[in-house]
Amino acid sequence: MIALLVAAPLLGAAVLLCGGRRLDRVGHWLGTALAAVSFVIGLVLFTDMLGKGAEDRTLNQHLFSWIPVEGFQADVAFQLDQLSVTFVLLISGVGTLIHLYSIGYMEHDERRRRFFGYLNLFLAAMLLLVLADNYLLLYVGWEGVGLASYLLIGFWQHKPSAATAAKKAFLVNRVGDMGLSIAIMLMFTTFGTFAFGDVLEATGETGEGKLTAIGLMLLLAACGKSAQVPLQSWLGDAMEGPTPVSALIHAATMVTAGVYLIVRSGEIFNAAPDAQLAVTVVGAVTLLFGAIVGCAKDDIKKALAGSTMSQIGYMILAAGLGPIGYVFAIMHLVTHGFFKAGLFLGAGSVMHGMNDEVDMRKYGGLRKYMPVTFVTFGLGYLAIIGFPGLSGFFSKDKIIEAAFAKGGTEGWILGSVALLGAAITAYYMTRVMIMTFFGEKRWEPDAEGKQPHPHESPKSMTIPMILLAVGSVCAGGFFSIGDRFMHWLEPVTHHDHGDSPLSAATVTGATMVVLVIGVTLAWLQYGRRPVPSVAPRGSLLTRAARRDLLQDDFNHVVLVRGGEHLTRSLVYVDHTLVDGVVNGTAASVGGLSGRLRKLQNGFARSYAVSMFGGVAVLIAATLLMRAV
């Protein structure tokens, strides 16, 4: 049953990618249907799980022995517990909606069948990632989603920018993947096994040094996949992919794999406080980093990408808090999955109506032309800024509370950063909202001179947006009232209330205050005054933020230049020293050969002399050996 979850989309990918043109007409429906099959199976498993007691809800399925070597056992086995079923529902649910959306969005694309094949491949890999019961199989899924992400970012490969962005994402992810593979190797040498159960059980008897090393490597992996500082640079460029891809992979699911990895490896981090501290630092830095970048971008998708980075920063921060935060990390992950996917789909809908224009300075006043998009996007907006009663309010508030509950100076710093992040979030999201839907029309004809005629998108696109908007509104309250979600996940992640220096009400009040400040600032800047069509030069910080806070410049100067110098000097050493030694040896052996060859002069008499000399040496040597 669990295997079917993975098998259905995998089958879809195989059929769609190998099936050829015959499937062009039904391919998208087949892909969507198989995604829905996974979702239905997920629901069945979920209801089945609800029927059991909290302690025996974990379900294991051993499929086959993958690498059965003495001392190295790797199985293809699945583990379905509360944590993974949460992911399964999110992935297959949002996945199915986005498949449905793509039918409309990709209607005019000749390679739509292939697109659905890749989407199905992504679903299969992502489900494998969250269902694996050991790190090695998780790694397979991890690489699988990386591949699917690469293929989908570069789906419009005829655009050089898309091809470059795909390559960039792939390369940056390799750095993180290397961390995961090293972590797995360290686990094997330390524990002799990869299975979650065995590894996490054995952490108690292992030295902190080793656990810290494993934890830092896992964090590196999470940074790559979840676009956290310092491996964040690929996410902005990844927006070159079709918008459904940005919604599904680069907002709702794949980029949260790092959070899953850290929460799943909770026991390791709990026993390695240094690694845990590193996790919170990465989360805090990224949450500010992404938010600042989000403020400066005029490209609607890139602004949302900055926001994604920042929101995942919240999750990573929460995951780094240990048992105080795990539940809230996952809760924010799920609510974020709803509202961010909804926001992206809304952005896609806007672009669909505006001749694929992405510059928000050329939008404006769209609320009348695209009412459904406006309402769903608006609900997503309210959710993400944490408007009371909506999803984001519950999940983000809890994370801020938990950050303060960490205690000590750390708690104060992390809590303040999280609060500051909330203010910036309110600012940049309000900016997006105002620039897109309010104000005057700043529409401009596109490159071909076509004047945009904004219109509402077809049903296949609006229905998913509406459903996601419902999730954005209700999910948070549903989870939080009576701590439902906490009790649900507690058997897997455990929970600890910590003790906060501030009361819950104080934190909520502070959040509300910063929310109002952020919205007001944005309104003062963009609502009251007309938005210029050409971006003003802006302050130093703005200019840096437009360039993604100089991340690419940093990478270029430090890594690319440095790497080039390193390779150049290595090539030099290779050419002069290594080749010199090799060629020199070859030449000298050849020369020796030519010289020795002359000894072979063809005269029997010189051969006899050589034999005589040889036997003399032989005898002398034998006698000498005795004398010694």
Binding site: M611, L618, I619, R626
Partner: protein, 549 residues
């Protein structure tokens, strides 16, 4: 002279003389040798009495049957436990019947059988005056290029004596590694050497070169034999016996009685050391170890190619067998004296063979230097001085002999107007023109180079492992370096065959008769089987690794 003295003389003379006991010969245990030598004698009779036209077929039949029967006898003896539990010394202490002896005899007989197939090949040379001809001259006595030679060719003469000569050589080789006293050892050496000298001189094409090779081989062989014989004399002077067992006991001090006639020399270690060095030198000459190798390239190049293949394979097997027995049975007490010396010989043989081979331009000389390098590798196994060393050498010899005969058989196929086209430049692009022949040759070259999945790798691995475990790690390092150097020229030939443009006036590849095809096919089969699934044969060699003392 007094009466009593006369009387006593008389009475002494009148005493019955001690009866000389008839020697006790275990014919059954010596059957392999006896069958081969007997067949050789029958071959001589065939030359005398069978009409010229039928001789070829009669000789071929007798040789093949004899070799097959002798091999069957070896198998029967081995199955009867003579290689392990019932190993013993037969023929009044002259011949050992034990594991190494039987293993090597089996190898020599199989190699000999395959070689006889290549001797009998009559489809490669163009038909001369209506007669199919083989690689051997029509009449050995005719002056090269003379009218007499042409007349003999026209008359359809053939030197079918090569079959009994080869059988005599094989008979000698069978005795050589099983000889258990120094005189038998020496006689076997001569019995197999003399026919080889003759065979070398019998090439149909390039006769002058062939005769020059034979003379060189003979002169240098005689020179080496003289040393060997002198060494035997010195050992007798030291031990008072030529029996391996007795000499060994004197060496390790178990026997201390002194023969009064040899009171001046017995127990003099200088005699022992000089004598054993001289005998070892004779063997190193036969295996082609540096610095006693110089005959090898000249003789390998000049001799008829089937003979070269036979020599390169069988002689090496026999000589290494004898060397093993000498060092392990007679001189184990001198281990600390001979090991460092052999160590040095192995190093310069491996390096020398591999290095000089790089600049060779003739395929037969190239293979000759390759065989020198291989002699060095085998010496590394000999130096191990363990049971594993013995069995690794046995395995290597078996593997190597089939690769060698096969490789030389392929050389006979590539021909131009002057006979075999042995210059390497002629082999350029062979892979384009005759992919199968080139591929087969490539397999043999890869085996020589010791690439995995060929017998060369299994063999090299076995000897190097034995050498390393026997405490000769540095030697293994040198061996691996030499292998790397050697790989260069083997691969170079492959590159030449497959990645060079064929020349316009390139050689043709003759289609051989089933005889040569069998030889090459067996070579490839053994090479691959011993490379892919060597375990059974490694076990066999391992069971055969104990000498009877």
């Amino acid at each position: 002279m007094s009466a009593t003295a006369v009387h006593s003389l008389w009475t002494t003379a009148a005493d019955p003389i001690d009866k000389i006991d008839a020697p006790n010969i275990e014919y059954g245990q010596l059957a392999p040798t006896l069958i081969v030598i007997g067949a050789a004698v029958i071959g001589v009779l065939i030359e005398a009495f069978v009409p010229r036209k039928s001789r070829y077929y009669a000789q071929l039949f007798v040789s093949v049957v004899a070799l097959a029967a002798a091999f069957a006898a070896v198998v029967a003896l081995a199955a009867g436990g003579y290689g392990t539990t019932k190993a013993r010394i037969a023929a009044m202490g002259a011949i050992a019947v034990d594991g190494p002896a039987l293993f090597l005899q089996g190898t020599i007989l199989l190699a000999g059988l395959v070689a006889i197939f290549t001797f009998a090949e009559r489809k490669l040379d163009p038909v001369a005056h209506g007669n199919r001809v083989d690689s051997f001259v029509a009449q050995a006595g005719a002056v090269p290029g003379s009218e007499g030679e042409q007349a003999a060719t026209k008359a359809g003469f053939a030197t079918t004596e090569v079959f009994p000569l080869a059988l005599f050589a094989i008979g000698g080789m069978l005795v050589f590694p099983s000889a258990n006293d120094l005189l038998t050892f020496f006689i076997a050496l001569e019995v197999f050497s003399l026919p080889l000298y003759l065979l070398c001189a019998l090439a149909r094409r390039k006769r002058l070169m062939s005769q020059e090779a034979a003379v060189k081989y003979f002169l240098l062989g005689a020179f080496a034999s003289a040393f060997t014989l002198f060494g035997i004399a010195l050992i007798y002077g030291y031990a008072g016996s030529v029996s391996y067992g007795t000499v060994a006991k004197v060496v390790d001090g178990t026997i201390t009685t002194v023969d009064p006639a040899l009171a001046g020399t017995m127990g003099n270690d200088a005699l022992l050391l000089i004598g054993s060095a001289m005998i070892v030198m004779g063997l190193l000459f036969k295996v082609g170890a540096v610095p006693f190798h110089m005959w090898t390239p000249d003789v390998y190049q000049g001799a008829p190619t089937p003979v070269t293949g036979f020599m390169a394979a069988a002689t090496k097997v026999a000589a290494f067998g004898a060397l093993l027995r000498l060092l392990y049975v007679v001189l184990p007490g001198l281990r600390w004296d001979w090991r460092p010396v052999m160590y040095g010989v192995a190093v310069i043989t491996m390096l020398g063979g591999a290095i000089v081979a790089i600049t060779q331009t003739d395929i037969k000389r190239l293979l000759a230097y390759s065989s020198i390098a291989h002699a060095g590798f085998i010496l590394a196994g000999v130096i191990a001085t363990t049971k594993d060393g013995v069995s690794s050498v046995l395995f290597y010899l078996g593997a190597y002999s089939f690769v060698t005969i096969g490789a030389f058989a392929v050389v006979t196929l590539v021909r131009d107007a002057g006979g075999e086209a042995t210059h390497l430049s002629k082999w350029a692009g062979l892979g384009r023109r005759s992919p199968l022949v080139a591929a087969v040759f490539a397999v043999f070259l890869l085996a020589f180079a010791g690439i995995p999945l060929t017998s060369g790798f299994s063999g090299k691995f076995a000897v190097f492992k034995a050498a390393a475990e026997g405490g000769a790690g540095a030697l293994v390092v040198v061996g691996v370096i030499s292998s790397a150097i050697a790989a260069f020229f083997y691969i170079r030939v492959i590159v030449l065959m497959f990645f060079s443009e064929p020349k316009a006036d390139g050689p043709t590849v003759a289609v051989p008769s089933p005889l040569t095809m069998t030889a090459i096919g067996l070579g490839v089969a053994v090479t691959l089987v011993l490379g892919v699934a060597p375990q059974y044969f490694l076990d066999l060699a391992s069971q055969s690794g104990v000498f009877v003392r």
